[in-house]
Amino acid sequence: MMVHNHEVVIIGAGLAGTRAALEAAKVADVAVLSKIFPSRSHSGAAQGGMAAALGNLDDDNWEYHMFDTVKGSDYLGDQDAAEILAKEAPEVIYEMEHMGAPFSRTPEGKIAQRKFGGHTLNFGEKPALRACYSADYTGHILLHTLFEQCIKQGVRFYSEYQVVHLIVKDDICRGVVAWDIRNGGLQVFRAKAVMFASGGYGRAYRITTNAHANTGDGLDLALRAGLPLEDMEFVQFHPTGIYRNGILMTEGARGEGAYLLNKDGERFMKRYAPTLMELAPRDLTARAIQTEINEGRGCQTPEQKAQGIPGDFVDLDLSHVSEAKLRAVLPQIFDLARNFAGVNVAKEPTPIQPTAHYSMGGLPVNVDGQFIRDAKNTPVRGLYAAGECACVSVHGANRLGCNSTQDATLNGRRTGRTIARDVPHLSWEDVPAEDVKAAEKDLDWYYQANGSENVADLRTRLQDTMMVNCGIYRNEKDLKTQLGIIKELQGRGKKIGVKDKSKCFNSEVMEAMELGHLLNFSEVIVIGAIERQESRGAHARTDFPTRDDAKWLKHTLAYQEPDGRIRLDYKPVTITRFQPKERKY
């Protein structure tokens, strides 16, 4: 088997991965592995902006940003991490700008900033102009700028390599085994430092903004290696996904003045967040929309109207904003609304529904990006993570809009620097033969799978039921039903059939592998959600409708025991400046 030796191996080439690579490559030999081409990473789909208290257009400062982040997290976010995010964010923005990122500008030539949900001035007084943006493809320009910087610096990319096994022995990470998708061979990547930047897990849901590639592979690889996952039950639903396919309509639309309307044409947000209205944080807005739909005030399609079925979407209305302004600041949503909803946003409202968007939970790391394996914050030697796959935890129970691009870039940079600092002190470790054998055995299993179950059908069933039973609103009964369904699907997953036996670009085996990951970590989401008997941020339990700080102001850690059982543990939340209080907007 081919063995590569790179001092640093980074898995994933989105904002976090490429930003870390730029730092680490200054002192070490870095390889970036990605299952798709780097420029295809899902960071590029971020539309609205990147938060930083530059104060280019108002009197912003980092303390407001930190407060909003902590309050937005429903006080589950670790405040040391939130402080770092708010303080370092302006520096990270300037650095991106200096690298060449083309931001939209104010009339005097500074970086332009817009309003975003939950971002306020003076601790909640009024909306802040904090999101730095480039029209409505901010993630795209950030991703491409970093990718191009990697080209400049000569970072080595292994594109279309799927990591299939994480090699951890004696609490030391020694590298990974990856599958070369184009040629079908397994290759060992021996490394002193391995970093996950493998993105989120939105594909566990049917209606999602996430790319097909976002199957949370990195999370499951860690779980299988005996390492914990943190706060997996917190899945953010973005309020405005295009009806039926969940494609993102940026929060920037509401930042530029869009209204949310129910079937009576009422701006219903006034009943949920009288101060911030449509600019309330995402968890609150998504719940408001879902409540309108559940209580029969959703808008109806003509067919639904004719048949007297209650509607299951609401309208996002931009028709009162001038078309010239929309073309200037939100050009992309014209195409999205036209191609995927058949709507001209300048003239008519777009039908939208909440859509699974962001994974607050993930691989537990400390503020330096080192992977931690337990409630006592013990780092795993040579293992790091940043970006959506990681849980620092900045976002706690609910992330604020445009904090994710900042989190990925900023913590990618921090983690890259930590790796650069650590690499000289890390040594080359042997790769145990049993790890390689295990990876080979796994891959062979997929090639020989000749059962009768259909991978796509199992995946669809998982996504549909997760949506219904573990979506915006949850309760114990539905969650337990869902756990049963996942167990059943895991059983059926052992009897799948894979027709394609080719070595070359076998995407059928790839999808089967991804299904395995989805089924595995979905169980963790559901178990974490069953246990957490409170409502906090994105986790809204109808049977426990209030936040319970006495019992639940703590992070969930989930481990997979060798027998496959999920074991939970808990970890305290770091609280420094802001004591938890009631969350109102």
Binding site: I36, H42, M99, G100, E148, A213, E508
Partner: protein
């Protein structure tokens, strides 16, 4: 509505030459060509290979030739094509790897060759941005939306004829940086592009403008660069 999808099939391991295979799919309003490919892969033939990721037109994975034109499968409504048979081919001009997936390494090679990054020897102030007027930003705005899907380069007859030609995508990127007011690398890039495989292989055939899913009009940027080279030299 039942549509026939005539899809290009090729697997180097099968020993068979490339051929077309027909699939009949019941297509509903609102379904894209990518949705249809997904349906075929899920329920008719799992061995069908194509690239996809974001399915919302921003990642560029699913560029392919649909009814003779390069498009993103995820943005193409199948019924709006208004043909009973939809012909799906891989991007022309690149080596097919398998079915609809082609070898894009040459494409990235071209991109790397044109110095696709900001060149500015003057170190900026660390605690503030470089200023740029909204008008100057507007000049490059359309070109920054390029998603590197390769539709343009793959549609270019000059590229079909000369595989060393930089191609519209790389040239758009060169334009994007050269016309950024913060960049000082114009001369360096123009030296690179004034070349038998550079700008001058563009004969304004215009296929790239039709193929670009982001409506960037690469020819416009290429014309700018051509004039700039001439201005600088004569």
């Amino acid at each position: 509505m039942n549509l026939t999808f005539k899809i290009y099939r090729f697997n180097p391991e099968s020993g068979q030459p490339p051929h077309y295979q027909d699939f009949t799919v019941d297509v509903k309003k609102g379904e894209t060509v990518l949705d249809v490919l997904g349906e075929i892969k899920a329920h008719q033939d799992g061995t069908l290979v194509y690239r996809r990721s974001c399915r919302s037109g921003i990642c560029g994975s699913c560029a392919m030739q649909i009814n003779g034109l390069n498009k993103l499968a995820c943005e193409t409504q199948a019924l709006e094509l208004q043909t009973a048979t939809v012909v799906v081919d891989p991007l022309p001009g690149f080596k097919p790897i398998r079915d609809l997936a082609v070898d894009l390494e040459p494409f990235y090679e071209k991109l790397r060759s044109i110095l696709p990054y900001l060149i500015n020897p003057d170190p900026p102030e660390t605690d503030k941005e470089r200023y740029q007027s909204p008008e100057d930003f507007a000049k490059i705005e359309i070109s920054i939306s390029c998603i590197l899907c390769a539709s343009c380069t793959s549609s270019c007859p000059s590229f079909w004829a000369d595989k060393s030609y930089a191609g519209p995508a790389a040239l758009v990127k060169a334009f994007r940086y050269s016309y950024d007011t913060r960049d000082a690398g114009l001369r360096e890039r123009l030296d690179m592009l004034d070349n038998k495989h550079g700008l001058w292989r563009c004969h304004t055939i215009m296929n790239c403008n039709d193929a670009c899913p982001k409506k960037i009009f690469p020819t416009e940027g290429i014309s700018f660069l051509k004039r700039k080279v001439v201005e600088n030299k004569y």
